[in-house]
Symmetry: C2
Subunit: 337 residues, 2 copies
């Protein structure tokens, strides 16, 4: 079984965006609705909407996608905690329904109702609902709910600890994933995403988060941002700062996905980062949707790059399946062994 750990519901029926547009219009008009309103989408519409994902799964030979709401649309900087909660609940409920319609093709990961200035403890209830009631296996955690202004404390700050306690209790990991940028300096998928990945990794080097939470697991997407390319810099910085070896620091706690969209990048990742710390991911139907004219294949068909790498069969098996089962253990209750 091949598990893609990084898929977002980027093809939701248009009613979802209409709901969001109404929500934003209400905010602009000065009214902040206190009830979450309704969203009407039929099962047939949901089935139809994920046909692109299902076709790519078939074409690329993958089996299951760990599926979460569209990352760029989380936009935690819009409105307040109530806005964010309503929006997150609707988005998560749709993921739940898609997973119910295609239980062997999608497993759910939730969006969190984060809001700038509001402690992440505020997200515990929605995490618990998604995991215990909807059968989700993880969450996407935004280190910068401000959308490019970086006003929250670092991920290693005690500000985040109550939320981590719940993650540990539920035994679910988080993918560290920012959302849209409202800072003109940062293109969302071309700068903000990659910067956040790099930033989170350096934060993890600087502090003892994983001493405090030995079973806390974080997936840094997009191949770990700049980290594998600058592995020598990070090894050297950790050494100068008297911090642990990177391989020790990440062993049970930090994982990179394979959302790197060319062979040479994937080859570097696979060469540098231990296979135990890499999870297959594509973020397909995502940031980069075109065909690479140099290969005639989709840029984001990352399984091809792994297939074409010189990695051992054992290491490939870990990356394509085993590590996902280890990092997201709740998946094992949903899948055949």
């Amino acid at each position: 079984m091949i598990i893609d750990c990084h898929g977002h519901y980027t093809t939701a029926p248009k009613q979802l965006q209409a709901y969001r547009d109404d929500q934003i219009a209400a905010l602009k008009s000065g009214s902040r609705p206190s009830d979450r309103g309704t969203l009407t989408i039929s099962d047939d519409e949901l089935r139809e909407s994920v046909q692109p994902q299902l076709k790519f799964q078939r074409d690329r030979g993958t089996d299951l996608t760990i599926f979460s709401p569209r990352a760029s649309a989380m936009a935690h900087h819009i409105g307040d905690a109530t806005t964010s909660l309503h929006w997150s609940q609707h988005c998560n409920d749709l993921i739940y329904r898609v997973c119910g319609l295609f239980p062997d093709k999608f497993v759910g990961v939730c969006q969190l109702p984060q809001t700038p200035g509001v402690p992440p403890a505020n997200c515990i209830e929605e995490l618990e609902r998604c995991v215990t009631e909807l059968g989700f296996i993880g969450c996407n955690l935004n280190p910068d709910p401000s959308g490019g202004h970086w006003t929250a404390p670092p991920l290693t700050d005690r500000y985040w600890y109550p939320f981590y306690e719940k993650m540990v209790e539920l035994d679910v990991p988080a993918m560290v994933h920012v959302s849209a940028s409202c800072n003109a300096n940062f293109h969302a998928t071309g700068a903000h995403y990659i910067n956040a990945d790099t930033t989170a990794f350096m934060q993890f080097i600087q502090a003892d988060l994983f001493k405090d939470f030995p079973t806390l697991r974080m997936i840094i997407p997009h191949g770990g941002g700049a980290v594998p390319y600058h592995w020598g810099r990070y090894r050297g910085l950790a050494q100068d700062m008297k911090r642990p070896l990177l391989t020790d620091l990440i062993r049970d706690n930090v994982f990179f996905d394979t959302c790197v969209y060319h062979q040479a990048g994937i080859d570097l990742l696979l060469k540098i980062v231990p296979a135990d710390n890499i999870l297959f991911g594509s973020e397909m139907v995502g940031a980069v949707r075109g065909l690479d004219p140099e290969t005639g294949k989709y840029y984001d068909d990352t399984k091809r790059y792994i297939d074409h790498s010189s990695l051992s069969a054992d290491a490939k098996a870990k990356i394509l399946e085993g590590n996902a089962r280890k990092v997201y253990p709740r998946i094992n209750k949903l899948l055949p062994a």
Copy 2:
């Protein structure tokens, strides 16, 4: 001749920091001195202070360092435009004196007196002084004078154009280089530097800056941040956005240095980015000062990685010398042909 395009004066005599400490103390006390004050350092002290750089040049077989004030100490977020001007002038004057003492070992690049909220046109006078009076060949341009809050417009915004006009007139390039971070999310050399590199490159993809300034040249340090590792992502994003091919976009205008501190990273850079767009750099006596226990050599001895790469002799010659002469043409007036 081997030219290291990326060296900062990180070993200045302690009087320099004492001057800065006094300047900051005066700001804190509420007094903002209107004269720039004095800094007394003897030529012998300057000679002594750069012995580490000279020793590394000898040990590593490099000849000349393009030398600028310590990047992390620029700290444009401290004080106001007058603070920044006084500090920059002192720092630049020291570079001038070091270059005068060792004219075959160092060539100067200036710090700019940038300040958050003050248009970069404000820096034209100091650039002109450094280039026309002190013989400098380029400048370091900070895309985020706020130090991690990213409050300035993108580098492609017309906000920066008057400064670019002067760069073009003087025929000097800029290295895009941030300074210290005062945002707790961003470790300076482990996150802020690398993020800025990635951010600047994406800004260049998004806009027509180099149509407006066909001879403007920007060096993106630290191996281009995350860019070569994510080259497929950037090719794909540019394609989806109907922007030029990356190789066309960067050809005469965007260059990466080789400050990547392990062999596999350098190998990726050299494989992916055209040799015409890479300049040898080490940032030695900089961010990472230790010996790599895996090699027994300094992490930042980047010349070793280039020597050990499979690049052709012709390409190596471009990277080690030719491209620096092309990108910083004023260097040719100072050096034998």
